[in-house]
């Protein structure tokens, strides 16, 4: 237990860090924000799943994926397909030429539900598919590339290509996927109206709880020998290989974990926002998610959450206040952060705040003596 406290939670400092974030997510935001804003924060926090996954595979493992939107999107689409089928009862779609199939299929002259949609009628299947389909894709991609020792840059390019392919595929196959509009008009989850205020608040808390579960799981992974090996691989991959480890397996594993985290975020995004579209799958959102992690600090799980929140708050603040120039302001912010603080917000804490805290603590101890 004590080693769990010290290694996994990071002793008192780690516990305080978790406590502050928990207080923000579970008390401050719900108590001070109206349901609309709270729902917005919930949406941002669903991106944070991707950012903490990136901390693990990019920050610690040295694997930069520019295609995490793929996994976020797959998780989100799995959830959206289930919700869409629930919303497309024959009664609700009676005016369509083929009632009982999603509206966009009807518009695209489809007359029957495509085969790959069938299993998504089952909620259990959907819950399993959300983590497993992205995990399987990450496993295949990761195994294909890491076993062949594809270098970091090539890996980043390939993941970006995958993001592009998936978004093009979704947009092109309009009748099967809802095309560029995505899957919209999602109403209920097992009969429960997800658009009501009470549902939005509850989903916000479920999202927060899942995020903390992922953070704790991430902390457990990183504090284990596996976490040390990831850092060791980032430093000297050859040395790890010549210490008897199959380096590729470790890379595949962490890439799969990051994919699963992203997928959970995607599913929670769909539930909270009520739709899913290809604009969360392609290259631009994938790179934005890397920026969240970079701003927060790519070596800090909690930092990634703060980075996600701050960038998204900044985005909505700048876009509301300076609608003409907000993109330039955001761009400026990113450049400033990366230039001045290469380790992001967590780096600022580590380099400037922590030494002062330690100094202060030392002084009070001396005064007490």
């Amino acid at each position: 237990m004590s080693s769990f406290y010290k290694n996994v939670l990071g002793a008192l400092e780690g516990l305080i860090g978790l406590g502050i974030l928990a207080a923000l997510v579970f008390a401050v935001f719900p108590l001070t924000l109206d349901v609309f804003r709270l729902n917005l924060v919930g949406k941002y926090l669903s991106y944070a799943f991707v950012a903490i996954g990136l901390v693990m595979c990019w920050g610690y493992g040295g694997i930069l994926s520019l295609g995490q939107g793929v996994f976020f999107g797959l998780g989100g689409y799995c959830m959206a397909m289930f919700l869409k089928l629930e919303a497309s009862t024959p009664q609700a779609t009676a005016i369509q030429s083929t009632p009982g199939i999603p509206d966009f299929m009807d518009w695209n002259q489809l007359t029957a539900l495509p085969l790959f949609w069938e299993p998504f009628k089952s909620f259990v299947f959907t819950l399993l598919a959300i983590p497993l389909i992205p995990a399987l894709l990450a496993l295949v991609l990761g195994a294909a590339m890491f076993k062949r020792r594809v270098g970091e840059v090539y890996f980043a390019i390939v993941t970006q290509a995958v993001a592009l392919i998936l978004s093009v595929l979704i947009i092109g196959q309009q009748g099967y996927t809802g095309g560029v509009n995505g899957i919209t008009d999602l109403k209920t989850l097992l009969g429960w109206d997800i658009r009501s205020d009470s549902a939005r608040v509850l989903l916000y808390f479920v999202n927060g709880a899942l995020l903390f579960s992922c953070i704790l799981f991430g902390k457990f992974l990183l504090s284990s020998k596996l976490g040390k090996l990831l850092m060791a691989m980032r430093d000297k991959e050859e040395r790890v290989r010549f210490s008897g480890y199959d380096v590729a397996n470790f890379k595949v594993f962490i890439f799969v974990v990051a994919a699963i985290f992203s997928a959970i975020g995607g599913a929670m995004f769909t539930l909270q926002v009520g739709f899913m579209s290809p604009s969360f799958v392609g290259i631009v959102p994938s790179i934005e998610m890397v920026i969240f992690a970079a701003v927060g600090g790519r070596l800090s799980l909690l930092g990634a959450v703060y980075g996600t929140l701050i960038v998204n708050f900044g985005k909505s603040y700048f876009s509301e206040t300076f609608p003409e120039v907000w993109l330039f302001l955001m761009g400026g912010l990113f450049i400033a952060v990366v230039m001045a603080f290469p380790n992001g917000l967590a780096g600022i804490y580590k380099d400037y705040v922590r030494p002062r805290l330690a100094l202060h603590r030392g002084r009070t101890v001396r005064e007490a003596l």
Partner: protein, 257 residues
């Protein structure tokens, strides 16, 4: 021509830990190692010397699986290594130290040694790995041997060059390899560090076979049981240090032009 058979299988000796036979590798037509035979006895410390480009490092790369052989055979304890991947070769008991110190700069000395401990080498093994008393004891024992007992908590990047070399040797010792291959272990070391390293290698060489690539003749003399001189990817001479140093062909290669 009355050439002595160089690199042929010596008879009536101890058991061999390593048999290298007919080993050849070519890079784009350049033959770096050419039909090489090399036999290392159990418990022997073999020093490999030779001019630049003789193929010394390539031979180590071939044995540890970093480079794949074009033809030939490498057998270690009756296991054929040529078809195995790097981590499998390590697990079979072959350790390799690189020429420039290859350590994990961001981890502490202790962590560097801990992750080199040969347990929990699979993904899920690493997740379940616990720092039990035997691991801690082994880390401290090895740290003592490599003169780094008082540096266990320091980040490895803060060590001196010589200490980094020792740390990498320590990381190999954690794995207790039966065959240890060191590529210029004293490169860049001070005189006193060289002496300590010679002592260290003599000590750890008692329990295992070693192949050491070295340029420093004095250092080689200190640690070698036997010396192999490589030249243009082939064995030029083999025997005691005095024997090879007086071999006219060796003198020709080193001083001839």
């Amino acid at each position: 021509m009355n050439m002595p058979m160089i690199g042929a299988l010596p008879e009536g000796k101890n058991e061999f830990a390593l048999y290298v036979e007919g080993l050849t590798v070519a890079f784009n037509g350049f033959v770096a190692v050419n039909d090489l035979n090399l036999y290392v006895e159990k418990g022997e410390t073999r020093v490999v010397i030779g001019p630049n480009g003789a193929g010394k490092t390539t031979v180590l790369d071939l044995i540890c699986g970093r480079t794949k052989a074009s033809s030939g055979s490498i057998r270690f304890k009756d296991i054929e290594l040529t078809a195995m991947s790097e981590h499998q070769i390590v697990r079979a008991g072959v350790g390799r130290k690189f020429q420039t110190p290859s350590i994990y700069e961001t981890l502490t000395v202790r962590e560097n040694l801990e992750v080199s401990f040969p347990r929990g080498r699979t993904v899920f093994g690493a997740l379940a790995f616990r720092l039990t008393a035997d691991v801690v004891a082994r880390v401290e024992e090895v740290a003592e041997q490599i003169f780094l007992s008082t540096h266990l908590h320091r980040p490895a990047e803060l060590l001196s060059h010589g200490q980094k070399q020792w740390l990498e040797i320590g990381m190999l010792l954690m794995q207790a390899p039966e065959l240890m291959m060191l590529d210029e272990p004293v490169a860049g070391m001070s005189v006193s560090e060289r002496e300590k390293t010679a002592e260290l290698l003599n000590h750890i060489g008692k329990d295992r076979s070693m192949i050491v690539i070295e340029h420093d003749m004095e250092f080689a003399r200190h640690i070698a049981d036997k010396v192999t001189v490589l030249h243009q990817g082939q064995v030029l001479a083999e025997g005691s240090m005095d024997h090879v140093q007086n071999d006219p062909r060796v003198i020709e290669v080193y001083l001839g032009h």
